[in-house]
């Protein structure tokens, strides 16, 4: 899992609102930096890194909520949550498949065909979750989210 980036100029004596701008800018940049290759099912860590970055951004938006204009903040948070949910649906299947594959060697031989069938079903769900995720990580959608977050931060600065 990728470590959270340092926030340049972070200062505990600075105002809560000024810190909000610094932190959200960095956390938002992290999300977009991890958006490459998330739809590749064979590379599940990429999606995991973007999901973690999205959760960090969401946490920052929640922590610093009072520093932003309410309506803009609510909309931005909603979009980030939607992205997080779509990433989460894929991630849940990635984890479940990995988990069940890890059980194969440990269970009774007679139970293995049933487990393999279950993994097969999960692979279908994983492919569907990946399809559902596509629009959320499309370049156009991410650009729009970036603009929205930029606008939110700009309002807090003002």
């Amino acid at each position: 899992m990728a470590r959270a980036r340092e926030v340049p100029g972070f200062d505990c004596e600075e105002s809560f609102a000024e810190t909000a701008v610094r932190v959200v800018e960095v956390r938002a940049a992290e999300v977009f930096a991890h958006s490459e290759g998330v739809l590749e099912i064979g590379e599940i860590e990429r999606l995991h890194d973007m999901r973690v970055a999205t959760r960090r951004l969401r946490a920052a938006l929640e922590v610093f909520a009072p520093c932003f204009p309410r309506k803009r903040h609510r909309k931005a948070l909603k979009r980030v949550k939607q992205l997080a949910d779509a990433l989460g649906e894929r991630r849940d299947r990635d984890v479940a498949i990995e988990f069940l594959e890890g059980l194969e060697e440990e269970i009774l031989e007679g139970d293995r065909p049933a487990l393999a069938a279950m993994i097969g079903r999960l692979r279908e769900e994983q492919a569907q979750a990946n399809e559902d995720l596509k629009p959320y990580v499309a370049a156009k959608r991410l650009k729009k989210l970036r603009r929205r977050l930029h606008g939110l931060v700009g309002k807090a600065k003002a």
Binding site: A4, V7, F10, D11, C12, E13, E14, S15, F16, A17, T19, A20, V23, R55, R56, A59, A60, E62, V63, P66, C67, V95, A96, F99, L100, L103, E106, I107, L108, D111, A114, L115, M118
Partner: protein, 156 residues
């Protein structure tokens, strides 16, 4: 589970006292789930406590530089809690899915038992970590209040 509202935050006031309020609220939230989550079958409370641990951890990740080294210990403890409760949750999700695959169910039940025992042990072992975190919040916000305004409040 929706995060509890944190009262009295002031965007114009410095980060540190605001951060202390948020951390306290998230720590209270975490602790409030413990009496229920420590019951073995209470999977919903264990799940809620995992979310609370995650929220505390992420807040601490952001505001760690504002407080003492106790914050790093608390952050690690929250991460360990989140991890063990996450595994318990995975077993709770997986168990109904492997319905009919008896050897898999038995394995998952045994593992859940072990993780639950680890969770109980961890929660007991970290009691001092949370107390130290609270002390650190008090020390840093109180000393700041004293140096800036002779003991007056910074927020409110």
């Amino acid at each position: 589970m929706k995060a509890r509202e944190v009262e009295g935050l002031d965007p114009a006031a410095p980060l540190r006292p605001n951060a202390a309020r948020i951390v306290r609220a998230r720590l209270d939230e975490l602790r409030s789930f413990a009496p229920f989550a420590l019951e073995k079958p209470a999977s919903q409370a264990q799940h809620d406590m995992r979310i609370a641990a995650k929220r505390l951890r992420y807040v601490l990740e952001v505001v760690a530089p504002c407080f003492g080294p106790e914050v790093d210990a608390a952050r690690s403890a929250a991460k360990r809690l989140q991890s063990v409760l996450g595994e318990i949750h995975d077993y709770d999700v997986m168990l109904p899915q492997v319905w009919g695959i008896e050897s898999a169910r038995r394995l998952l039940r045994e593992r859940r038992e072990r993780r639950f025992a680890e969770f109980v042990e961890l929660w007991q072992a970290e009691a001092e970590t949370w107390t130290a975190l609270e002390r650190s919040l008090d020390d840093h916000t109180f000393s700041l209040q004293k140096s800036k305004s002779g003991g007056g409040k910074e927020i409110d």
